[in-house]
Symmetry: C2
Subunit: 289 residues, 2 copies
């Protein structure tokens, strides 16, 4: 079986490594526009062969693990080129736009939209590791539009990697993911920006920074190449959540200004409920450096 | 030597354990207003004896590890009660108010204001561990006002625990710590609040939450008993940073609304500089559960 991976960064590289580790023997083909990443992926043994355009028709599976704007550019030509029994998947963090784009393609039923909820703030093939997806959620969208035999293969592939599979409407996915991922990144980026701006005057402050600070700004290390297109594609949902977040911060500001410490206490107390929510999240990737 | 610890939570309990591990043989006395914590601290071997009020005069060192409002209530009576060769320290997250309060006390030179930059989001004696302070910063304020022999003992105590010692003006401490700690907690609490409010309608979204979300809302587990008084004491500095943070978020909102993805990209790219800052922070405590 031949598996082709387009985009050999953290996600694509980790899928390649996981496929080698958890799946039956497969030949791994890969490509990346960055020649350095391409060379690294080969030398690290992440892929076996370069994936050339003339190879597309001979692949059994092709996985797209590139920024979500690039996905939109390549998905239709790729569907044109794959053979009649091949499966094409994407692993992007937004799902509505790509599902809409492929909707009327004659090979729509050979496409599966996925979003593996896994990652670290690091990128490139050297950040990839085979255990990235273990116990992590894999969201599948519009599964009824994928040919049953191809869907079944994909589900088994993800199960072999010990992923937790959930099905979801593409629009619902984009709305919800804004709350539990996209806003976290914006919060972290803007917190980093606020402190870096201050640092111009006061380099000394960073010796005072501890693990709490590190945790909240960790996502500010994330790749702008990946995140700018995500923010663009999920603009409307993100604007809604961002406004709610700013309103909560301004509410906090107002209560603090007014010395209403009882209300501040109550808000924090009820937000402690996040404990039980976090208890259900596998935090292992937080520590992956 | 007799060391008394008032407040046997994460910080006080960890100081007691660290004193036992890294220091010469000392008898550890402790007290906590919470009877359950008191019993736990004794049964876990964090302290050797209960610390009663009549013991205060016989202690060589007393460490205050209680919320910053409680520190202000007890620090003057404690200075009255300690013997003429004893050292009193506090470990609170704000330094200006306590330094101002003790300023004119006749035993001012037996007091040392400290802020160990260490912690996890967990509290109580069971959260304490002896390695909490290893390689972490210890900020000392107004050291010139502490009697040299007592200061020297304290510095050696912290060095034995492998802490990194920094000296700082108390007002400067409070201004800077707002940037690298207090705002992180507010950001995290309000992010948790935003998502929990949404969760009322959509419980399902948490199956989509991954490690990035967990990292940014981790501090929302923190104790409101500890944090409400900190926000109160450092109100003016926090309001300043909070306004800068909200302004940056609104700037992001405006750029996204206007589809100015080049600017968003550039902001994120320059904020990636946080990498080199974080590289200098010991992140070990992030993973302590």
């Amino acid at each position: 079986m031949r598996i082709g991976i387009i985009g050999l960064g953290l996600i694509g590289g980790s899928f390649a490594l996981a496929a080698k580790k958890f799946n039956i023997a497969a030949s791994l083909y890969g490509r990346d526009n960055n020649p350095k990443h391409m060379a690294e992926a080969l030398s690290l043994g992440i892929i076996d062969y370069p994936l050339k355009e003339e190879d597309y028709a001979s692949m059994d599976v092709i996985l797209l693990a590139i920024p979500v704007d690039a996905c939109l550019t390549v998905v239709l030509p790729l569907l044109d080129q794959i053979n009649d029994n091949a499966l094409l998947l994407d692993a992007g963090s937004t799902k509505a736009a790509i599902c809409k784009l492929v909707e009327l393609h004659p090979k729509r039923n050979q496409f599966l939209a996925t979003h593996p909820i896994a990652g670290t703030e690091f990128s490139g093939p050297s950040a990839a590791f085979s255990e990235l997806f273990v116990e992590q959620a894999q969201i599948l969208c519009e599964t009824h539009k994928t040919r049953p035999d191809l869907l079944e293969w994909a589900v088994q592939w993800f199960r072999n990697m010990n992923m937790k599979i959930h099905e979801m409407d593409a629009e619902a996915h984009d709305k919800h993911i804004a709350y539990v991922s996209h806003i976290s990144h914006i919060s972290s980026f803007m917190l980093g920006k606020t402190v870096i701006e201050k640092e111009k005057d006061e380099r000394a402050i960073f010796k005072m920074a501890g693990s709490g600070f590190a945790s909240t700004v960790r996502l500010a290390k994330s790749s702008p190449d990946m995140w700018t297109p995500i923010f663009k594609q999920n603009k409307e949902n993100i604007l809604e959540v961002l406004r709610e977040y700013i309103t909560n911060l301004e509410d906090f500001e107002r209560l603090l200004s007014a010395d209403d410490y009882n209300q501040l206490f109550e808000q924090m107390k009820s937000t402690n409920a996040i404990k039980s929510i976090l208890a259900g999240i596998n935090e292992k990737n937080i520590t992956k450096q």
